[in-house]
């Protein structure tokens, strides 16, 4: 259930992030705006390098600074700006407010500690106010491994990550991310490194768990089919800004931003019909990004104004927004 009557759980406003590199600054995030409501399942899509992970790391304030620099914007979680929080306030947010599942489950787990130790740490950390004893922590750890449908959880507690398959590790990561009972779960390409049949299991599991708890989720993926199956709303990102957002059904029925259209056409269909050529060109160089609409060098509909001014978001339908001059009126 998406709560429309309460203020948004998360609101990212005009977020701008640069990276200092040899030769200058990469102007990566160019004013990202997105809203996640309580209970909402949001998808974030865009080609690799468009800034999805950077946005999520900025939200959690885990961007390495330097080289990253947050140049402007706000990240409001329950109305409070995460970017301006003190360390103790931030600790309240991480884990119990927002937690994250990373693309690569192997890198996310520490190879020298057992699953039980790592899970125990997360549980202890998120219950710092009401202290738990070792027995209670172990029970909770077992419970969370059972929730992600891992067989033989008692044995798993004493296993090291290397003794688990990729799919099992990703389940453990999900268990860890959910053990803190977060209000918002960020899942950054959670199945990409796994095989299709295993990815399908993981996504079904994740979907059931967040629906059961009414947790909000931002699901990052470049598999459009996954977005269609799991989310209520989609944000499409291109070269550091959100270029289109709509309820999932609407977006799949009627994509409007030229990049979104190209992307939809690029997906090979199980029903056949050949493979479309896709989108010519490539994502811009962030040292000298294109002026105006960053998509203009690749856009088949480019107009004079597109090169001069960054397009604002235009409302094109119910809850459907597009940052493209084709829809100005």
């Amino acid at each position: 259930m998406v709560r429309m009557d309460t203020p948004p759980l998360l609101e990212v406003r005009d977020l701008q992030v640069h990276f200092k590199v040899f030769g200058g600054h990469l102007k990566v995030l160019d004013g990202v705006n997105m809203i996640v409501r309580a209970g909402e399942k949001v998808g974030l899509v865009g080609e690799s390098g468009c800034g999805k992970t950077t946005t999520m790391k900025a939200i959690l304030r885990i961007l390495p600074q330097p080289p990253a620099k947050i140049v402007g914007g706000q990240v409001l979680f329950r109305g409070q700006d995460v970017l301006r929080m003190r360390p103790d306030e931030l600790r309240q947010i991480r884990g119990r407010g927002i937690s994250m599942i990373f693309q690569d489950p192997t890198a996310a787990l520490n190879p020298v500690f057992t699953i039980g130790q790592q899970l125990g740490d997360v549980i202890r950390y998120s219950h710092r106010n009401g202290r738990l004893d070792a027995r209670q922590i172990q029970l909770k750890a077992l419970q969370s491994l059972k929730e992600v449908a891992l067989a033989d959880p008692e044995r798993l507690l004493h296993s090291y990550p290397i003794q688990l398959s990729g799919g099992m590790r990703q389940r453990v990561c999900i268990a860890m991310a959910l053990a803190t009972q977060p209000e918002l779960l960020i899942a950054d390409e959670p199945g990409t490194s796994l095989d299709v049949t295993i990815q399908d299991q993981i996504l079904r599991l994740l979907h059931n768990l967040v629906v059961e708890r009414n947790t909000s989720i931002i699901l990052i993926t470049h598999t459009l089919g996954v977005v269609r199956e799991v989310t209520d709303r989609v944000y499409v990102m291109y070269a550091g800004s959100i270029v289109e957002s709509a309820p999932t059904k609407t977006l799949f029925a009627n994509p409007m931003f030229p990049y979104t259209r190209g992307l939809m056409q690029s997906v090979p269909r199980l029903s056949g019909g050949g493979v479309a050529e896709g989108i010519p060109g490539r994502i811009p160089n962030y040292l000298h990004p294109p002026s105006g609409c960053r998509f203009h060098p690749r856009c088949p509909h480019v107009m004079e104004i597109c090169r001069r001014e960054k397009p604002p978001m235009f409302t094109v339908g119910e809850e459907h927004y597009v940052a493209c001059y084709l829809y100005a009126c």
Partner: protein, 337 residues
């Protein structure tokens, strides 16, 4: 006319260590375990399977990187593996490969020109090749001045196009494409796929197209084989395959694919939801290796490895649900424990 390429009971095992008291008992990975199929001239034959199923091992054995443990591969009726071990040059030039990862398959210290010259100079050492390099770039629709670029200056898609040009250099008749677009964004995939389809038309090529993406396969292959843990479980014409998938594993694969439209949703088998882990190839389950995950498992399945059966018009299935029709080949002949 013989098939352009034929695999007969191909096996490739790797010894990855030793166990036992004296460390004498080899630990074996049966990467490819008795694979048979034939590819006809002009065909795009799709080989589909999840990671570790043995697809790349089939590819690498075909190009001569590995010698088979047993079985044969024939190119136009001629065996690729002679007793002397060395593959004749006239055959070598006919079979080329494009690898999955364009980043690591191109030498970063060589220019595109040098990369494309290398196969040319092996097969025609005495000649000047710059004209041919330009021709190759034109064939793959890259600007000719790209020959002076280094891989690092190319996008992932462009690198893969250079790898395709390199594969074309020796004028092969057969190219193995080992997940050629898996490392690329879907928006770039179409350009590469369509280029490959055009090249096939123009130069009368045949492809072994390896992928884990069934939706992609639906759009490019004429026939498809599904591999699981070193064995093939189903082979069929692409159109038949997607209309009427027969093997439970194929059905599970199909039902796991995330799709973008209702029309495709309707094509997915509903009853076979994915479950269970892909077993370790060191420890392959007995009998039908899919039995631990199969919703239709029967008593016979963990005991007996099923035989490949033709269910009609070349639709082959290896599963006890489809027993052999002839009396000479009753299902369950070959007992494996």
């Amino acid at each position: 006319m013989p098939p352009i390429l034929e695999y007969k009971e191909l096996k490739k095992y790797f010894t990855i260590g030793y166990r036992g008291l004296l460390k004498r008992e080899p630990i074996t990975v049966k990467a490819v375990d008795g694979v048979s199929f034939a590819i006809h001239k002009g065909e795009i034959f799709g080989l589909v399977g999840e990671s570790g199923s043995g697809k790349s091992t089939v590819a690498y054995t075909t190009i001569g990187m590995y010698r088979p443990t047993s079985g044969v591969i024939e190119f136009q009726g001629e065996s690729l593996f002679t007793r002397e071990g060395k593959r004749p040059r006239h055959i070598k030039k006919e079979i080329q490969i494009v690898f999955q990862d364009p980043g690591s398959s191109l030498n970063p210290r060589r220019s595109v020109k040098e990369i494309l010259e290398l196969p040319l100079s092996i097969h025609q050492p005495a000649k000047k090749h710059i004209g041919r390099v330009a021709e190759l770039l034109e064939m793959v629709e890259l600007p000719v001045d790209y020959m002076y670029k280094y891989p690092q200056a190319l996008s992932g898609g462009e690198k893969q196009i250079v790898a395709i040009a390199r594969a074309l250099a020796t004028e092969p008749s057969f190219i193995i494409l080992d997940e050629p677009t898996s490392a690329l964004d879907v928006s770039i995939q179409g350009k590469i796929i369509n280029l490959l389809l055009r090249l096939r038309q123009e130069f009368h090529l045949s492809y072994l197209f390896i992928t884990h993406d069934l939706s992609l396969m639906r759009n490019v292959a004429s026939r498809v084989a599904i591999m699981y843990l070193g064995k093939i479980c189903e082979v069929a014409e692409a159109s038949e395959f997607f209309r009427n998938p027969k093997h439970p594993y194929t059905q599970m694969l199909l039902s796991s694919i995330p799709v973008v439209s209702e029309e495709e949703e309707a094509l997915k088998p509903k009853r076979v939801q994915s479950r269970g882990e892909i077993p370790s190839p060191v420890n392959i389950p007995s009998g039908c290796s899919f039995h631990l995950r199969c919703p239709y498992k029967m008593d016979i399945c963990p005991r007996v490895d099923p035989q490949m059966v033709d269910t009609g018009s070349g639709h082959l299935v290896r599963c006890h649900l489809y027993p052999a029709q002839t009396e000479n080949h009753p299902a369950g002949e070959q007992v494996i424990t």
